[in-house]
């Protein structure tokens, strides 16, 4: 299992034990990095649009994919492509709360993303 994230709290998270790859960039950059991995045969393990906090609100995104790569998984490809399309639709009207560098908001968005990916990892670890 590999976790791709642009969220420093997730990257630094002591309770997150899987391999991590930090994406220096935007929410969209994380989605693109995930898509590139799927092209190389990794499978998507968590939903890229996790959370009801919309892509045009939060700057943070964390996604887990399989460590092993095989033939390209078309279900994973469909979900990531649909997610990138949904991201681009929302960014037509960016609300930019997190992008305005409001410190307290950034911390809250970071916490929510951390908690959601932790819930996915908890599911993964106990199965």
């Amino acid at each position: 299992m590999i976790l791709l994230t642009n969220n420093p709290k997730v990257q630094m998270g002591e309770k997150i034990f899987c391999d991590k790859e930090f994406v220096e960039g935007s929410y969209r950059d994380v989605l693109i990095a995930v898509r590139d991995k799927i092209h190389k045969g990794h499978r998507l393990l968590s939903h890229p649009l996790s959370g009801s906090v919309k892509p045009n609100e939060t700057p943070y995104k964390s996604v887990i994919i399989s460590r092993n790569s095989a033939g390209m998984d078309l279900d994973s490809l469909k979900i990531i492509e649909d997610s990138i399309a949904a991201y681009d639709k929302f960014m037509q009207n960016s609300m930019k709360y997190g992008y305005n560098n409001q410190e307290s908001l950034l911390a809250d968005f970071s916490e929510i993303d951390y908690r959601l990916i932790k819930a996915a990892l908890d599911s993964a670890s106990c199965r």
């Binding site: 996790s50 307290s104 908690r115």
Partner: protein, 426 residues
């Protein structure tokens, strides 16, 4: 299982020296209720406000809306596993303070959301503008973590609703409704010619601020399961979902689920309403596969001809919705799905993040991206500065005169995916 709902029609809420219900008015002793809620060591202080239909009041940010109810007879108590002991509810008699609600408000994280306008154009988009609302504002102890804060506010709302509900225990109801679901065998024998229909209710279960509890169990840790519809009416399912105001299901929605009510209205006449399948919307994709497999399997086991599937939330749950729809259709069972749309401000974009040809009967709760102007109100309960950082609001939403321009998604219940909406295109 058979449940009687005794509706006590409420016309007003007032503060008073003695908490009671009299002639359709709820009187509340603020100090007594405040002391009860302050027993939680995570709550520093509690304050109360009343918001009535037609008043020039804006409430934000809204966390949950809860209808006051009390078990008069039958097993268990309201909100079992949360504030009442675990026992199977949904039978006997429950009294309801109809026309009243507890609304919890307060900031848990900085971008919190959910607006209820009690008058003006915004009021038309939320069913809660038509209720007499007791607004409970909880201030946490300093430094309380978000997850503990959310839990404290959630439990305070449930306790306040139970406190008010208890005032209606010995009051004669203005009307009585009866809901009954026979066992599978009885139903098949009684209505052999009627099509069998189940309701698949998807529950928000992604994590912090995105959770739902069933008999006290965090639903993301449960497999898909079955409830009698009347269990919902006694608070078996409780909202812990504080994000996506327009299309989340508040606890009030769970208690008054219109899909359940409409299916009961046709039960024994046009169809045989066999039960409710509740399932989750987890972030982990294997959970989605497992849960939707179970939705389809349980629908097959119930031997139904059709199901209605309701979604909660947007994005990630779109995938669960389509999985449920596809897998149930593949069993030869007809489906109708209820969702809402994020179709852009002009309504021209793709509405959902997933789709499938089997989803050929779709009901929408509306377009959450639609822009709406809300005029200033005389009084704001909660935190007006939240308007700029509310989901669906944007930098500059809050105008100098106190009016706000926002997307419809800010309004609590505006595009609800149970169909609990005030406006329709019918």
């Amino acid at each position: 299982m058979k449940l009687e709902l005794g509706n006590i029609i409420i016309h007003d809420i007032q503060f008073g020296n003695v908490s009671k219900v009299e002639k359709g008015i709820i009187y509340i002793n603020k100090n007594e209720l405040g002391a009860l809620l302050s027993e939680d060591e995570n709550i520093k202080s509690v304050s109360f406000e009343i918001a009535r239909p037609g008043e020039r009041i804006r409430i934000l940010p809204v966390k949950d809306v809860i209808e006051p109810r009390i078990k008069v007879s039958g097993r268990g108590g309201i909100f079992p596993g949360m504030i009442a002991k675990v026992d199977t509810v949904g039978s006997g008699r429950t009294n309801v303070l109809k026309g009243a609600a507890v609304v919890t408000a307060g900031k848990i994280v900085g971008f919190q959301e959910g607006i209820i306008d009690m008058s003006g154009p915004g009021a038309e988009y939320t069913p809660f503008s038509k209720l007499n609302n007791l607004v409970v504002i909880c201030e946490p102890v300093p430094g309380l973590a978000q997850h503990a804060h959310e839990k404290a506010v959630r439990l305070a709302g449930l306790k306040a609703a139970a406190y008010l509900g208890n005032l209606g225990k010995d009051i004669d109801a203005d009307e009585v409704e009866i809901f009954e679901t026979p066992s599978l065998k009885e139903g098949i024998l009684k209505y052999p010619e009627l099509p069998r229909v189940a309701y698949v209710q998807m529950l928000q279960t992604q994590g912090l601020l995105h959770d739902t509890y069933v008999y006290g169990v965090d639903m993301k840790q449960s497999l898909t399961t079955i409830l009698y519809p009347t269990e919902l009416m006694d608070g078996a399912v409780v909202s812990g979902n504080c994000v996506s105001a327009c299309d989340k299901n508040t606890t009030y929605h769970h208690l008054n689920n219109p899909v359940v009510r409409d299916l009961y209205a046709k039960h024994g006449k046009e169809l045989n309403f066999t039960g409710v399948i509740i399932t989750n919307e987890n972030v982990y994709l294997a959970d989605k596969e497992r849960s939707s497999d179970w939705s389809a399997k349980l629908a097959e086991l119930l031997g139904v001809d059709g199901v209605i599937i309701s979604q909660e939330g947007f994005g990630n749950p779109d995938t669960d919705l389509i999985m449920n729809c596809k897998k149930i259709e593949a069993k030869g069972i007809k489906t109708v799905i209820i969702t809402d749309e994020y179709a852009g401000r002009d309504g021209a974009s793709q509405s959902l993040a997933d789709a499938d040809a089997s989803a050929d009967a779709v009901v929408t709760g509306g377009n959450a991206n639609m822009l709406i102007k809300l005029p200033p109100m005389e009084k704001v309960i909660g935190h007006i500065e939240a308007a700029d950082v509310i989901a669906g609001g944007f930098d500059g939403s809050l105008k100098s005169d106190g009016s706000i321009e926002v997307e419809l998604q800010v309004i609590t219940g505006a595009t609800n995916e149970l169909g609990f909406n005030r406006l329709s295109a019918r």
